[in-house]
Amino acid sequence: MPETLKIRVLVRPKEGILDPQGEAVRGALPALGFEGVRTVHIGRLIEMEVESADEVDAMCRRLLSNPTIEEYEWEVVS
């Protein structure tokens, strides 16, 4: 049995890229009485189980993120 690695990938808009979702949430928080929220950015968390971490970076570059507008980081969770 090959081992199973749990991988967690975080994809988010690159700095300076318009993030309408984040903006909308930032605008909504004060409406609920939460003050002092300066910025909100929304990304995507992807969890995978893989047999090897060798190709995770390629997966991130080729499919899981769009390098034109997003940046990613990933880690082996267990």
């Binding site: 318009l18 499919l63 899981l64 034109t68």
Partner: protein, 220 residues
């Protein structure tokens, strides 16, 4: 002339595109996503819709469909390709066109008619224009906010590769861009839907002029 229309699961403007090609008196050819075969067509339209449910990002999964291999070769060899709406998103994900389409700035799906200006006649899909003409075309999208990084954007503008520009920007796209072309000028992406205005019964057939242009380029 044989004009292909790719069909992905979730494409919903494929029929409109096939109908528009018929209206021009040309031969429409369906290109099924699972077949790596362009069936010898002379030009390809990648239609709008929600290929693969827009999962992950619009166009991200369609970009790896079997039909895309030969389509990418066709585009790199100078074959005329028009990506409309989701088709534009697919072509950006496939790196046949630069940049990306972000969520609309105002966070709302926009379904409307907009005025655009044809910025250049120097593409197979605008060869029937002189450049500078206005058109009224339908838009229907949630991710139509074109973005390209500074250097890429400057190149697009310098090289006259902004093909269509909004007169009244509906989605926040950078420099009011509604459509661009690749370096070879044969691959064009446009967010509004020319194939949805292909018959006076639909309110207008202004869109046919874009689709017909490809025949001008081919000398038909």
């Amino acid at each position: 002339m044989r004009i292909g229309v790719t069909v992905f699961p979730g494409s919903n403007c494929d029929r409109d595109a096939l109908y528009a090609i018929e209206r021009m008196g040309e031969e429409p050819v369906e290109l099924w996503h699972a077949e790596a075969d362009l069936k010898g067509v002379d030009a390809v339209i990648v239609p709008g819709g929600f290929s693969y449910g827009d999962y992950l990002r619009p166009g991200a999964i369609a970009r790896f469909a079997n039909v895309m291999g030969p389509l990418e070769d066709f585009g790199r060899e100078g074959g005329p390709i028009l990506g409309v709406c989701n088709g534009f998103q697919v072509l950006c994900e496939a790196h046949l066109l630069p940049g990306a389409l972000l969520q609309n700035r105002h966070m709302r799906f926009v379904c409307d008619r907009v005025r655009v200006r044809v910025e250049t006649a120097n593409t197979p899909w605008t060869a029937g224009f002189e450049g500078g003409e206005g058109l009224t075309l339908p838009v229907a999208h949630n991710e139509g906010n074109y973005f390209a990084a500074g250097e890429t954007l400057a190149r697009l503008e310098d090289e006259g590769r902004v093909v269509f520009r909004y007169l009244d920007n509906p989605n926040g796209s950078v420099n009011d861009i509604a459509g661009v072309c690749n370096e070879g000028r044969n691959v064009v992406g446009i967010m509004p839907h020319p194939e949805r205005v292909s018959d006076p019964a639909l309110g207008s057939d202004e869109g046919l002029k874009i689709l017909r242009s490809v025949m001008v380029g081919a000398g038909v």
